[in-house]
């Protein structure tokens, strides 16, 4: 018997992972959550049929969301994280002793519960006393907050469905307002490769450019995501992501990583020509 999980990366492209076991499934109005065991990617979590994380490559995604902004501003103390109910990003953030508080907004409590059971090595980070979990609508949580956070990390699950509100202009506007004068926001920024994803990448970039004075995009290789090529957004009120990196200071912290390095940090903002062009296309549209 062969048991395969298949995700449509586009209507014309399928990505299939051979599965040993279907470990968990649950469904509510926020979507369907599934956890599988696979020989190649280890355990993996899918929401509404889309792979969110795999044990094999989550480190790339989580490290890139956490360490890039932390290396630019090591003085960050108060952080707001949207999504990431699996605890992966928080695990990376907790490697910094200087961080005082992490507020995590995960509307889908089911994700947190399932991850605590099936991905304890990631989710145990959520039990750290510095972490507070809110299961609330993200927009509702943030819209009245002002000048409160040093860093906001937006780990939206996808561009459609319940996570859609994390990709809107009103959301990025609220993030800007909730950040301090030297605040940084990083977000998952979709893949630039396939047409449908590209449109959303551009839309998100346009929305962020509209709100922040400094907006850059960086990249990573994530095998289990559509096209395997992924972008992240770095937006800030003051810090520039490459010029303001103090590589020596970060390396002295002695934080162990498997993907992130300060050399990679400098390189990951160097984008392919076609990506530069698609971003520039929306940067020129002012209102």
């Amino acid at each position: 018997m062969e048991f395969w999980f298949t995700e449509l990366h586009t209507p014309n492209v399928k990505f299939s992972v051979k599965v040993d076991k279907h470990l968990y499934t649950s469904e509510n109005d926020l979507g369907r959550v599934d956890i599988f065991e696979s020989p190649e990617f280890g355990r993996f979590l899918a929401v509404d049929g889309y792979i969110i994380l795999t044990q094999r490559d989550e480190f790339i995604y989580d490290e890139m969301l956490a360490h890039v902004p932390m290396a630019v501003n090591p003085n960050v103390e108060k952080i707001l994280v949207f999504g990431s109910g699996d605890g992966g990003v928080v695990r990376e953030l907790l490697k910094y002793k200087t961080i005082k508080a992490i507020d995590l907004i995960e509307i889908n409590e089911g994700v947190v519960q399932a991850c605590r059971q099936y991905f304890p090595e990631m989710a145990e980070s959520l039990d750290d006393p510095r972490v507070t979990i809110y299961t609330e609508n993200a927009l509702r949580f943030i819209r009245h907050i002002e000048n409160e956070y040093d860093l906001i990390i937006v780990d939206s699950a996808g561009f459609y469905g319940p996570g859609e509100s994390l990709l809107t202009r009103e959301f990025y506007g609220s993030c800007y307002k909730a950040l301090k004068a030297d605040g940084i926001m990083v977000n998952q920024h979709q893949s630039p490769f396939y047409e449908e994803d590209r449109v959303e990448t551009q839309k998100a970039h346009k929305r962020i450019v509209n709100n922040f004075p400094i907006c850059r995009v960086y990249q990573a290789h994530i095998p289990s995501y559509p096209s395997g090529y992924w972008l992240f957004g770095f937006a800030s009120k003051k810090f520039r992501p490459v010029i303001d990196l103090d590589a020596e200071a970060w390396n002295q912290l002695g934080i162990k990583t498997d993907y992130y390095t300060t050399n990679l940090h400098k390189g990951c903002f160097a984008l392919p020509a076609y990506v530069e062009r698609m971003l520039a296309d929306v940067e020129r549209i002012y209102d």
Partner: protein, 485 residues
């Protein structure tokens, strides 16, 4: 009757199962002749786009499944008769007017009627007697009809055949319908209700009184607005003293003889949905609207109004599902907020006028979209709010009626006069802000400087103006000066 039944829907399903070979119209033959139409609308939809035939009845003269669907609807709405309408609520409103009065007769109506009412007067030649609605000067919106004004209009025009009431208005304002019906009936006048925005009153709990429950003679109900049916489908309801046969004849004067079964079946299914689940559905709609009102009022600068507007007369009741937000205090006209939300936030509202925006909350809404709306309003305030000086906040202008809409529409006219030069002239056409589609000028009304200023201001603020022959609304047609009246 068993409200679980949906006779037209069931007949269509049966029809599909029988795989009848079509040698009749429509010519696309279940979509086979038009593959792109099928890929746009889907096979199931196109297959049901059929013509009237014996098993599916005929809307012009219903005797089987459509008749049964109308009887079920009549019961669900508490009406003596219900007509399925496929020409929009416009056709229902026009049928009411054409049923109630004819050339030379009078009909009493509030000035803030939908264009469809005055259009019907252009067709039948009846004379409108306008009752100026009360207005809320702060919000700049027209309210309901005051009982004292209705009484005066009736006393001054005892020969009028009917009185038409907007209930609720676009903004959710209800008049004292029961009292109006009582006074009108005492004077032998029919009561026609434009209930386009009140479908849910018939199915939800703790809602304002419906036209049929208040004893009105005819009512037009936009099932496609709060009722969930397809756009352009509607119900016309009649009370016990109205001849259904005569109303059918009036409908058939202008109604298509090729009524769409997509529209007809959507009315049937939606009636069933609301009859079976309306209470819960509209309780949820009210909960969402209340939540949004509370959250928006917390922002500061916006005013999302509700039942506190009730004043016992011109605001006799308020539709709790309506979410209208007054925006002038953040220094933006409603239409400006409406445009910003659409262009910058990908949020489409129902309407923006001078001082307000209206977000339509209905049975398809979810909390997550409401959270977006509230947050977008917070962000609009943060990014765009201005000093409020220089903002026009008065929406309603009393009209000066010189001749009937029909006389003016067909009178010898001087065409395409630049709008700034029309002060004092008599307009022969409509000028409307859309939505809500309520005329600023109707045929036969005198143009004043105030009206010209208002039209120019509305254009400048980005309102969509419609009606005149000149589609840019830079010029108006007026009555020839030599003509004396």
């Amino acid at each position: 009757m068993d409200q679980r039944k949906a006779p037209v829907y069931e007949a269509l399903q049966e029809f599909r199962r029988n795989r009848v070979v079509p040698f009749d119209v429509p010519g696309h033959k279940r979509g086979r002749g038009n593959p792109e139409l099928v890929s746009l609308l889907g096979k199931q939809c196109v297959e049901l786009d059929v013509n009237s035939m014996k098993p599916l009845d005929n809307l012009c003269h219903p005797i089987s499944v459509i008749k049964e669907a109308e009887e079920l609807a009549a019961e669900a709405f508490g009406a003596a008769h219900a007509f399925l309408m496929v020409g929009g609520t416009t056709s229902a409103v026009q049928t009411m007017v054409l049923t109630a009065c004819k050339s030379g007769e009078k009909i009493i109506l509030p000035r803030n009627v939908h264009r469809s009412v005055i259009n019907a007067l252009v067709v039948n030649g009846a004379t409108p007697i306008y009752v100026n609605p009360d207005t809320d000067n702060r919000l700049g919106i027209a309210l309901g009809m005051k009982i004292s004004q209705v009484e005066r209009a009736i006393e001054e025009n005892p020969e009028a055949k009917a009185i038409l009431v907007n209930n609720p208005t676009y903004y959710g304002i209800c008049s004292n319908l029961k009292k109006i019906v009582e006074i009108a009936h005492e004077h032998g006048m029919m009561v026609l209700v434009d209930e386009a925005h009140g479908t849910h009153f018939y199915f939800g709990e703790n809602m304002p009184l419906t036209a049929m429950a208040s004893g009105a003679d005819m009512s037009s109900v936009s099932m496609h607005k709060s009722g969930g049916s397809l756009t352009q489908s509607s119900f016309l309801l009649t009370g016990p003293d109205v001849s259904a046969g005569y109303v059918r004849q009036v409908i058939n004067l202008t109604q298509t003889t090729s009524a769409s079964y997509l529209l007809i079946s959507s009315l049937d299914i939606s009636r069933r949905n609301l009859a079976l689940r309306g209470k819960e559905l509209f309780a949820e709609v009210m909960r969402i609207a209340d939540y949004a009102r509370t959250e928006i009022n917390k922002i500061g600068g916006y005013y999302a109004y509700g039942k506190e507007l009730i004043n016992g007369d011109s605001v006799f009741d308020f539709d709790p599902t309506k979410l209208t937000v007054y925006t002038l205090d953040i220094g933006l006209a409603g239409i400006e907020v409406y445009d910003l939300l659409r262009d910058e936030y990908d949020i489409q509202l129902e309407l923006g006028d001078m001082g307000n925006v209206l977000a339509y909350i209905s049975i398809g809404d979810r909390m997550r979209e409401v959270e977006r709306l509230v947050s977008a309003l917070v962000d609009v305030k943060r990014r765009y709010s201005k000093d409020r000086s220089g903002l026009f906040d008065h929406e309603y202008i009393n009209p000066s009626v010189v001749m009937t809409p029909q006389e003016a529409f067909y009178a010898p006219k001087e065409e395409m006069i630049p709008i700034r030069e029309t002060n004092g002239r008599i307009c022969t056409e409509f000028v409307m802000c859309y939505p809500p589609g309520i005329p600023i000028l109707a045929p036969g009304e005198r143009i004043t400087q105030e009206i010209i200023d208002y039209i120019l201001y509305a254009k400048e603020k980005g309102c969509q103006l419609t009606g005149p022959e000149d589609e840019k609304v830079e010029r108006l047609n007026v009555i020839k000066e030599s003509t004396t009246y």
